[in-house]
Amino acid sequence: MKLGRIWNTLANPKRIPRFYSVIVGLVLIAGFIVPMAYDNHQLYPRPTPQLQIDEQDPFAPYDRGGAPLTEPGIVKSQYPQFAAKQGYVTGYLSPISILVSNTTLYFGTSIYSSPGGLIDEILYYSRGFDTVLESSILMMAFVVASWVALNFTMKRKED
């Protein structure tokens, strides 16, 4: 087959996603033979799995310690000099959260744990710009979807 024919076959919007997913699939399969050498000094470390649960900690697996506004909890960041107040609100609990955490051992995985319970400082403080961008992506997706739905999807058969 000539090269020009191959290009012409590819120049069809319907074929491009299939072609692309075949390439992604091949690369992912090739990834099985890549040695998985992870770095041991991770920026955002996690405690050992089940460690806090075995300690009967009601905040497991998200316990970071600390008292609000007085003693910082355990929150690491890449540039501590740019996040001076880090960890000071990690230990904040709303009154409902305090009530629930006193009655059950599974507070950390319940719906009470956010928001107003365990505030995730990585999400809202040291990497807060990412959260802004994520919400913008969601907003743009809704703008596009609602505009398309309002303008053509209903009328497609009439065209």
Binding site: A11, P13, K14, I16, P17, Y20, S21, I23, V24, V27, L28, A30, G31, V34, P35, M36, A37, Y38, D39, N40, H41, Q42, L43, S77, Q78, Y79, F82, A83, Y125, S126, R127, G128, F129, D130, L133, E134, S136, I137, M140, A141, V143, V144, W147, V148, N151, F152, R156, D159
Partner: protein, 226 residues
């Protein structure tokens, strides 16, 4: 591979917690180009195309109506701002988010046309952008796992390159290709059906070009081939 070899001396940084935006002459030039083009788009209006009719000597004017025009201008401005942000960000995950924002907005620009053929092309582009998020975020996550950090200013100081870092950056490149790299293809295919063209379509090409250039810079920072 030092940042100063790739882009010149670092002129300044904007620290947003862990996300540090840095400015070198190279990045600053692309940032300014994206912003200048966005400003041009914000003040421009659609071109109306004049078509010669077959069989008569009359002309037909093809115009874009106002609602369509407004949405496409809005999406084009957001796309330009996201491109400008992607040029100066010094954080790998932040860059992937900017690229995803560009991809979503590109789908909107291609899809906001009242032609069924164009909508079909936009649907295919939406599929490829959704598939592309897997290698994009997977690649960034593998680079984080292999280096322990996602700040480019920290990655550049790591003296070695592991095979996992190379594999992560290959996935990352595939993801960028899927999110914005194929956008000009779909825009051009759609433009063939869409005669009332507009200046807004050009932002897709510009953002794709700038993002690919920046991606290559990031790949050189991660892999240090020289």
């Amino acid at each position: 591979m030092d940042i100063s070899i790739l882009g010149g001396p670092i002129l300044g940084i904007i620290p947003l917690g862990d996300i540090v935006l840095y400015f070198t002459p190279f990045n600053l030039f692309m940032f300014a180009a994206a912003l200048a083009f966005t400003a041009l788009i914000a003040i421009s209006s659609t071109e109306s195309q004049v078509e010669a009719e077959f069989g008569t000597l009359k002309n037909r004017e093809v115009k874009v109506d106002k609602a369509e025009f407004k949405l496409r201008r809005f999406l084009a401005i957001v796309c330009g701002l996201a491109t400008a942000g992607a040029m100066v960000t010094g954080d790998l995950f932040d860059f992937t988010l900017f690229v995803t924002l560009i991809g979503i907005v590109n789908i909107g620009i291609v899809a906001a046309v009242k032609e069924i053929d164009v909508l079909d092309a936009a649907f295919q582009y939406g599929l490829i952008a959704m598939i592309g998020t897997l290698p994009l975020f997977g690649g960034a996550a593998l680079v984080l796992a292999a280096t322990g950090t996602i700040s480019l200013l920290q990655i550049v100081q790591i003296p070695y390159t592991t095979s996992l870092m190379a594999f992560g950056s290959i996935l990352f490149f595939l993801g960028v290709a899927g999110e914005t790299g194929v956008a000009p293809f779909f825009a051009t295919k759609a433009e063939m059906f869409r005669t009332p063209g507009s200046p807004f379509l050009l932002i897709i090409h510009l953002s794709s070009l700038l993002v690919i250039v920046r991606t290559i810079e990031i790949l050189l920072i991660i892999n240090k081939p020289f």
